[in-house]
């Protein structure tokens, strides 16, 4: 029994993965659009600082916004053209943020790209890390945490394991799956580069068992490299950082702690491939693979979009919809963000665009809790969502704090399982933000 090799965490749910519509669609390259709206500040941490002015001519790959601080990332122009205006544009969270509107000149001409580092196997790790930072690479799985920060563990931290996250446990999404199938060499090479930067030799690639072909392919490609491919139980949220580390290594990341406290660094598959592009091909991160799917999408598929592509355009490329959507979600259905406008544009962490029609749209109710304990059973963090939710309803955030609400990873498993359709995840989020605000007020 090979499967026993890896653990599986407590709790979790088994939603219908709905990946069939796009699983077999190979990645298509989106044609050049005439306009891109690139949001400034696509990463967690300090938002980047815009360095272009109105009317500036930019080349493809030219830096248009600079990292503002250590935990920040560079931003590059997706194509060549002119900066038409600096606007404010809603981001995936609904907040208005500055954005640079670039009108493409149609040539899609590279500026001065980086010098490719062909011999990365002998290059200094610091040089490679600098390249990752210069290329503006962030965690493309969802959090958009600047990658070079993750690769710079603090003094004294002992990193011995690198984990490449190819679990893609979110239903509907197949972008990472296609990346692994179509560019397996890049995944392996990227993992090796990351291993060199970190100086670790223990490298895992974690993939859920519903992507058997990807597991087989990568195992084949990884022969002789020492990289281990873990076929993991199909269980949401298998791809969550703490759960994946536990499944692969048996280590538990402490509450409120980072993976590096247990000697792990995790990277998403898409980011890993982006690192290969940056190091070996000298290209900054200006495009990403995104799954556009949903029952009502006429031609769903996996596309290589440039950063800054408006969602409306992306849907148009997929042949439009057969039925008006009631929900447009950036990201997967479990943790993605519902959008109120189609004007939002793709960012470095947009792994999917999901359209749900009227029929598929689930409504949250305000039915009372029947104490069935489904949420308790499914919570991968071993919390008590039902109690937290009741406490939040009566605004008792102190009670929620005692129930360790701060450890919630907002995976949504509790809301998924709740038969009374209570908005449990939102209650947890509310408690977390309220407690964070309280703490901030105390520090003042």
């Amino acid at each position: 029994m090979k499967r026993k090799e890896f653990l599986f965490f407590q709790g979790g749910i088994h939603p219908n993965d709905c990946k069939d519509r796009t699983r077999l669609e190979s990645i298509q390259v989106a044609p050049l659009l005439d306009k891109y709206t690139v949001i400034v500040g696509q990463n967690i941490g300090a938002p980047s600082k815009c360095i272009v002015k109105l009317g500036d001519d930019v080349k493809k790959g030219q830096i248009i916004a600079e990292a503002a601080g250590f935990v920040s990332a560079q931003l590059h122009s997706p194509t060549s053209g002119t900066v038409k205006r600096i606007v404010t544009c809603p981001n995936a969270m609904g907040a208005f943020v500055p954005a640079i509107e670039i009108v493409a000149d149609g040539n899609d001409e590279w500026g001065s790209p980086f010098e490719p580092i062909d011999d990365w196997k002998t290059a200094a790790p610091a040089e490679l890390k600098q390249r990752v930072a210069d290329a503006g690479i962030v965690g493309m799985g969802g959090a958009a945490f600047p990658t070079h920060v993750k690769l710079s563990p603090p003094e004294g931290a002992k990193i011995d394991t690198l984990i490449i996250n190819g679990a893609e446990c979110e239903p509907y999404l197949t972008a990472d799956h296609r990346i692994m199938l179509e560019t397996p060499e890049k995944v392996i090479e990227g993992a090796a580069i990351l291993g060199r930067i970190l100086g670790v030799s223990k490298i895992f690639i974690g993939i859920e068992n519903n992507k058997k072909n990807a597991i087989k392919l990568l195992r084949f490609k990884a022969l002789g490299t020492g990289i281990k491919i873990g076929g993991l139980q199909v269980q949401y949220p298998q791809g969550a950082e703490k759960q994946l580390i536990y499944s692969l290594t048996g280590r538990k990341v402490p509450v409120g702690g980072l993976p590096l406290e247990v000697g792990c660094v995790m990277q998403n598959v898409a980011s890993t491939v982006a690192i290969v592009d940056a190091v070996v091909h000298g290209r900054p991160l200006i495009e990403r693979i995104t799954t556009v799917t949903g029952k009502s999408v006429v031609n769903p598929g996996n596309w290589r979009f440039k950063i800054g592509t408006p969602v409306a355009k992306a849907i148009e490329l997929c042949g439009g919809v057969s039925e008006a959507p009631r929900k447009v979600i950036l990201g997967g259905p479990m943790m993605g963000f519902a959008q109120k406008t189609l004007d939002v544009t793709l960012t470095k962490n947009s792994s999917g665009i999901l359209l749900l029609s009227e029929k598929e749209t689930e409504q949250y109710g305000s039915d009372p809790c029947i104490h069935c304990g489904r949420c308790v059973r499914t919570c991968p963090m071993n919390l008590l969502p039902s109690s937290i939710s009741l406490a939040v309803e009566s605004e008792r955030f102190d009670v929620a704090e005692k129930q360790h609400v701060a450890a919630c990873i907002e995976c949504g498993a509790c809301s998924y399982a709740c038969p009374a359709h209570r908005p449990l995840t939102q209650h947890c989020r509310r408690a977390k933000t309220a407690l964070a605000a309280q703490k901030k007020a105390l520090l003042k």
Binding site: P368, E393, S394
Partner: protein
Amino acid sequence: MFENWLLITVGAILVNNFVLSKFLGICPFLGVSKNLNTALGMSGAVIFVMTLASLVTSTIYTLFLSRPFTFLGVEDVNLGFLKILVFIVVIASLVQLVELILQRFFPVLNKALGIFLPLITTNCAVLGVAELNVKGGHTILESTVYGFCSALGFALALILFSSLREKLDLAAVPTAFEGTAIALITAGILAMAFMGFSGLV
């Protein structure tokens, strides 16, 4: 011997629970059961007062009131009829004393208990325990244990009830039944459940 003690303890805590079976001390039961922490404080106060009251009243009764003696040429004077009068005064002063001590040393607890500490003075539960000791023919030691166990029973009911009421606070109770009404109904159902213990000892 063992059975006798079992009878007194289990009987006082469960079977003849002061609140749920004898319906004594309902006032603090309803008044201080809104949250668990005050209920715990009140339970402590009641346990203290009832044990002490049992000890003191039982001592006074066995030593002075229950035995016939000769006085001023009158034979076989039995002062048993004075017991209620004496008990009331003794208990009242006792509570007064407790309150003074609390005020001085535990002002927070005193504030939390509020009006209910003085109310123990006139509480039927405390007078009841003294009277039941006499009726049951308990010795001083038995009385003290009985008083302590009765108070434990009271505390048990109070704590159970306060946690229930905290839950009820979140319930969508119809307006007509909000507050004390629903508390009384809950108490009634609880009392029904405790009837299951009847005949246990």
